[in-house]
């Protein structure tokens, strides 16, 4: 009994820790524009952080490596951009439309991909994402290489003008923090616990009466939906939906962000996303070196640094406290 009480205390402590850290992160992000950080940079990083958190929900907590998550980012981006520009919908409705389309796509792809496991799962998601890429290359409404440009930011709820950079910034921040809180809630919910059980030992979870496939599918759809939210938001922020967001390199990038920050940790993907976006910003002039450095980070992470930055820090902290 004592052990159980202790475990519960540890869990409660870690939950308080997560809450405190989320609060600190939110406050830091809220004052960042006044501390001289370029808002567009943070908005980009936040969109990718949300994308990586959504991806981490599937990989870190469900143990499913999707190598095609770009299709959800890109699909929502295209639908949102199209809805805002051609149909003239308000940004919040356009973002919802984009997110919903990714949820629908996620349901279809998830139902298909969970029929196979492990490496096959990764290959199938990659192949389907490539199929979607070719579809978007040819589909007339995406304007191919040009993408959907000059997407209007519009007025939020028809009232708040998003053309103002700071208004846009705080809108992105609110959406990000809300989605992040939702992800934390999902992870700590009974659903999240069952998901972890399935990741650790699927046959045992099944023998305990859990319908593993249903849980995996739901995790996949949730992840795809949140990735879609990130993509739709990104389309409004940058007023652009382009092919790079559906290409396989983008799928690789989100894997890298999660791996670098720490898969299966709550804050890892955020840290990873900020680092990679910063890296790409600063190295943008170096052309192909970005690809090479990205590859090197991949190799180093896999060989020497599998817990990622946040994972290593957490392990160091626990070791020190003993």
């Amino acid at each position: 009994m004592a052990a159980i009480a202790e475990a519960a205390a540890v869990r409660a402590a870690s939950r308080n820790g997560v809450f405190a850290a989320t609060l600190v992160m939110t406050v830091l992000l809220a004052i960042a524009p006044f501390a001289g950080v370029y808002p567009v940079f943070i908005m980009k990083a936040l969109c990718f952080a949300l994308f990586a958190c959504a991806f981490n929900l599937l990989l870190g907590f469900g143990g499913l490596l999707s190598f095609g998550h770009a299709m959800f980012l890109g699909t929502a981006g295209y639908v949102c951009a199209y809805a805002a520009k051609v149909w003239g919908l308000t940004p919040e409705v356009a973002i919802l439309a984009g997110t919903a389309s990714s949820a629908a796509l996620g349901t279809l792809v998830g139902a298909l991909a969970i029929r196979r496991q492990g490496i096959y799962f990764a290959m199938i998601t990659l192949a389907i994402a490539q199929m979607m890429y070719f579809f978007y290359v040819q589909a007339p409404f995406t304007h191919g290489e040009d993408g959907i440009q000059a997407v209007p930011r519009g007025r939020l709820f028809g009232v708040i003008d998003l053309a103002d950079p700071l208004t846009m910034y705080y809108t992105v921040l609110v959406v990000f923090v809300a989605a992040f809180a939702l992800i934390v809630r999902i992870i700590h919910s009974p659903f999240g616990q069952v998901l972890k059980a399935i990741r650790e030992n699927e046959p045992r979870a099944i023998s305990l009466g859990y319908d593993a496939d249903r849980y995996k599918l739901l995790a996949f759809v949730l992840s795809a939906t949140l990735a879609g939210l990130a993509g739709a938001l990104k389309a409004i922020v940058f007023q652009l939906a382009a092919l790079t967001d559906v290409y396989w390199t983008m799928s690789g990038e989100v894997v890298l962000m999660t791996l670098l920050g720490g898969m299966g940790t709550i804050f890892g993907p955020v840290v990873g996303a900020f680092l990679i976006v910063a890296l790409e910003n600063y190295l943008a002039g170096l052309g192909e070196w970005v690809t090479i450095i990205t590859g090197i980070i991949f190799v180093v992470c896999v060989l020497a640094f599998r817990r990622g930055i946040v994972g290593e820090l957490a392990a160091w902290w626990t070791a020190r406290r003993r």
């Binding site: 490596l65 190598f67 298909l112 029929r115 196979r116 492990g118 490496i119 096959y120 990764a122 290959m123 199938i124 990659l126 192949a127 389907i128 490539q130 199929m131 070719f134 579809f135 290359v137 040819q138 396989w248 690789g252 894997v255 791996l259 052309g287 192909e288 070196w289 970005v290 690809t291 090479i292 990205t294 590859g295 090197i296 980070i297 991949f298 190799v299 992470c301 896999v302 060989l303 599998r306």
Partner: protein, 291 residues
């Protein structure tokens, strides 16, 4: 009619490369349990090796197509062996996904380095003298080099099948795929076998690259998109059988060629659509065994 046979021929050529690449992937997967994401980059390295030997040569001696067919697979295979020994072998005890992530990172590095060095425009590679020209078959014109690629890749595939399914060495390999611990207990050096198998699979990719060099241009990204199609081919065929990989490779190449004739817009997606259908009907793949 001319156009139809032309597309069929292109389909067969593509199928030959699908078959050789998926064969290498399947052999590696069988023993190492990893999917080699670097396969496309290694195919590209094979082509570049041939291009380099022709245009720069070793110590001033320029080497043509035929020596390249032997030197390039060995050179790239050795690089593969170094990768396996220094990096991949550390990951065997971990989740197989790490192998995929590592090879993905390596592929990015290799492609990035080649793009830095050579840009992204293609470089031509001449067809060897003996294989230039073509034959008029009456219903179509058959370039000799293309006929050679189809025949040669078939031979390579069948030889690989023979080695694995019909020789003593192949039986060790198949046994080690089933149960490495037991095979090691019988005194066979399994780690060395794993290393050589990886080298062989990589060499196969490089060989395909050399054969592809005169057809497609030599380009740092020539393997990047191809490898994703090959993944779909592998999912469709299932990695259980060698002959299955060969048949699926050629078959899908032909299907793709036919689609290019009848419905050109769908030709880039047809293989992925087939993958979806196969997953719905037979999740283990056409020739796969459920593990």
């Amino acid at each position: 009619m001319q156009a139809l046979f032309g597309q069929l021929l292109i389909g067969l050529i593509n199928g030959a490369f699908y078959a050789m690449l998926s064969l290498g992937l399947a052999v590696i997967f069988g023993l190492l349990n990893i999917i080699n994401f670097t396969h496309g980059a290694q195919y590209m390295m094979g082509a570049f090796c041939a291009w380099f030997l022709l245009n720069h040569g070793i110590a001033g001696v320029r080497l043509g197509y035929w020596p390249s067919l032997i030197i390039a697979p060995i050179a790239v295979g050795i690089i593969g062996i170094i990768i396996e020994r220094t990096m991949l072998s550390r990951l065997y005890k971990l989740d197989h996904l790490y192998g995929l992530l590592l090879t993905f990172g390596l592929a990015l590095i290799i492609q990035g380095v080649f793009r830095n060095e050579f840009g992204s425009s293609g470089m031509p590679y001449e067809i060897p003298q003996v294989l230039t020209g073509g034959v008029n078959l009456g219903f179509m014109f058959l370039p000799i080099y293309r006929a050679w690629v189809i025949v040669a890749s078939l031979v390579v595939c069948l030889v690989t099948w023979f080695i694995i399914e019909r020789t003593k060495l192949g039986s060790y390999l198949r046994a080690a795929t089933e149960n490495p611990a037991l095979v090691q207990a019988f005194g066979i050096n399994v780690p060395r076998m794993i290393t050589l198998t990886f080298g062989f699979g990589v060499g196969l990719a490089a060989l395909a690259g050399v054969m592809a060099a005169p057809i497609y241009q030599v380009n740092p990204l020539m393997g990047a998109d191809l490898i994703i199609v090959v993944f779909a081919v592998v999912v469709i065929g299932g990695m259980g059988s060698i002959l299955g990989a060969i048949l699926t490779g050629f078959g899908l190449g032909i299907v793709e060629g036919l689609t290019k004739y009848f419905w050109p817009e769908a030709s880039s997606t047809v293989i992925f659509v087939i993958m979806v259908i196969v997953l719905l009907v037979r999740p283990a793949g056409l020739f796969g065994k459920e593990r």
